[in-house]
Symmetry: C2
Subunit: 391 residues, 2 copies
């Protein structure tokens, strides 16, 4: 394996200046909440002022048309049909919409893996408390050598009581791409419903939702598409579309998926309306080029930090399981210097102005490096330097 140079930026000039981030920090956590380019914040302001000038006209009369146009643009981007796509605040809401659109009986089983996003595990706990469903959470052995490592344990857990497979497309604590196509196929041919939580997927990997064997897919656009915060989607398969409804029913109960999702009560719909502008924003660089850059920088960071810190990676160094993030075990010496991963994260922020999540995973702590247009190899070098100085 050769340790090559980092990827070149997608364009000349100071790309970080397009974002509102405080540059006195080494910001390596795009993944948690995203970052919205200044230009898109301005566009959101513009749309909001337009709504506020004539609120009834804009919300009461024109919103259906405006949302239809936004849905069309977003659906094209994620590879599905606009008539099966609903806007939600975030993927957590999308997951809840799906869970609440199914009828549960005591003893129904839901399968997930131990890399599942914490909030989703809690949602399933709530279903267990309310309806008596059983949660089967499978452990995926580490290090993950390839996609196939995810499949066998999950498939072995399926049985006649399994109603749903809930699986992240890209895991949050470990930043790994899950083979949702294969898992979905295995589940669906057993009559098990499949819900994919693509919180980190749109904008970070090429996405064609309709090619994934699943009943429902949810995702965020405020993370990797950089829309204003509060822009998520939930997509139903043609079969599930008649069942899926938003968590808060308003006037349009029973009028069909898009009618119901397009009116969930008075709210700020500008994050949804600005989504097409966010997609266009990155079109100027080319989405393939953007995703490639972000992926290559994540893979480079992974390889470099694993080598420099002499640690065992969670996944192959070729980056085949990575999107635009990588979770790297911190050196043992650094881990030993703090009482908790939270203390280490606070130290990095307070004393070195580095913003990066430190995540405990099976006894080891990991930093999760996120890469987007505003990320440069120099920031990763700085992280390396500071972490090597710890302990």
């Amino acid at each position: 394996m050769s340790f090559d140079a980092p990827p070149s930026p997608v364009a000349d000039g100071d790309l970080a200046s397009l974002f509102p981030l405080d540059r006195s920090y080494t910001f390596l956590n795009h993944g948690s909440f995203g970052s919205t380019p200044l230009e898109l914040l301005a566009e959101q302001d513009r749309v909001r002022r337009e709504i506020e000038a004539r609120p009834i006209e804009m919300i009461g009369r024109r919103m259906d048309t405006l949302l239809a146009s936004a849905r069309e643009s977003v659906a094209r981007f994620v590879g599905t049909s606009p008539d099966r796509l609903g806007f939600v605040t975030n993927a957590t809401e999308g997951v809840h919409a799906v869970l609440r659109s199914m009828r549960w009986r005591a003893g129904d089983e839901v399968v997930c893996i131990n890399h599942v996003y914490g909030a989703m595990r809690q949602s399933l706990r709530r279903l267990a408390d309310e309806f008596g469903i059983v949660l089967r959470e499978l452990t995926i052995p580490l290090p993950v050598q390839g996609s196939h490592d995810f499949v066998a344990p999950v498939v072995a857990a399926f049985n006649g009581r399994t109603r749903l497979l809930l699986v992240d497309h890209i895991t949050s604590p470990t930043a790994l791409i899950v083979p949702v196509e294969e898992l979905g196929r295995e589940a669906q041919r057993r009559g098990i419903r499949v819900l994919v939580d693509g919180a980190h997927a749109p904008g970070s990997i090429p996405l064609a939702i309709d090619r994934i064997p699943c009943d429902a897919y949810t995702g965020n656009l405020h993370k990797w598409c950089c829309t204003p915060k509060g822009c998520g989607i939930v997509v139903a398969s043609p079969e599930f579309a008649s069942e899926l409804r938003p968590i808060a029913t308003s006037h349009r109960y029973g009028e069909g998926l898009t009618r119901e999702f397009d009116w969930q009560g008075t709210r700020d719909m500008t994050p949804w309306l600005v989504a097409p502008a966010a997609i266009r924003f990155f079109d100027r660089f080319g989405w393939d080029r953007v995703r490639q850059h972000n992926h290559e920088l994540a893979a480079w960071s992974h390889r470099e930090l694993v080598r420099r810190w002499d640690v065992v990676p969670l996944s192959p160094l070729d980056g085949s399981l990575l999107a635009a993030m990588a979770a790297i075990p911190v050196p043992e010496k650094a881990q030993a210097a703090f009482a908790s991963e939270t203390a280490m994260q606070a130290h990095l922020y307070d004393h070195a102005r580095i913003e990066i999540p430190v995540i405990a995973w099976q006894g080891r702590w990991h930093v999760r490096v996120s890469c987007h247009l505003h990320t440069t190899p120099g920031l990763v070098d700085r992280l390396d330097e500071v972490v090597r100085g710890l302990g």
Copy 2:
């Protein structure tokens, strides 16, 4: 009864200029979606930029403290304790949070009145479809002579299967204040839970939620407190507080009401954070003076239009059942000139630039006049002039 002069404005100067509304329209529909003063939109922008500069610091580390402070200010304003108040997007979400926090059995009955907000009726229909609950919707005879007219039909409908009374504090189609204190008392002493939907209450009437006998109370601040859109609250009684949770559970399931509501996934929380600034905005005029002005202008509009149009009012002309809105039957000649109430509303907007809802209620159409600081008697005079010219 004397037909007196309209109330004076709460302050000198052009108060409408404080709002972003397009003044080429006669805007008489504050009630549907509210209107946010320019100063508060600017404050929202400021807070959003602060969050975007250091998203993890602001959302991940400081948000609990920021929300605690916002909750405290809002709780004081609506007369309850901040530790039983959760922020939601809107009252529709608040109602759903309560409905989803109860366990339903087939045959459970929910009582409401025929003035119930349409979206709430739909939420109850969804519960009926999912759990087999029975909705009992009582008709209140018109015209309403006084508060007592609401009480007898509702109380007569209570029986051993009644689980919940769901009632608006101020009705949407008819703009009447409902005697929630008396209804709540009657329900609770029969062991029936009470959910008050105060969508129109905060900012339009003096509010002391803890003095209302109810298990849960929900409301919007984007209507009459003029916060940015997407600011609702739900409040639980001390007894119900341990059961109430948001519709979308995130990481904090089971950690208690405020912990759960304060984190419902990534979203734009600026409408909640700006709520204290909205309360302060009207403090400069005095909230009592603001509410009194809005009420008196609504009562004046009611009296004047009923007299000028020679119609039978829905409620007493002393305004005792009105807050800051009044629904007035349109002259029969005007009604006869259009195929539907929608057509009449569109005509007023398209041909006279008047923005006002026209609502069909028991065979008669009504205009609902909303009054806030930007409303002047001259706008109501203009509505009168145009409506009298119809047909």
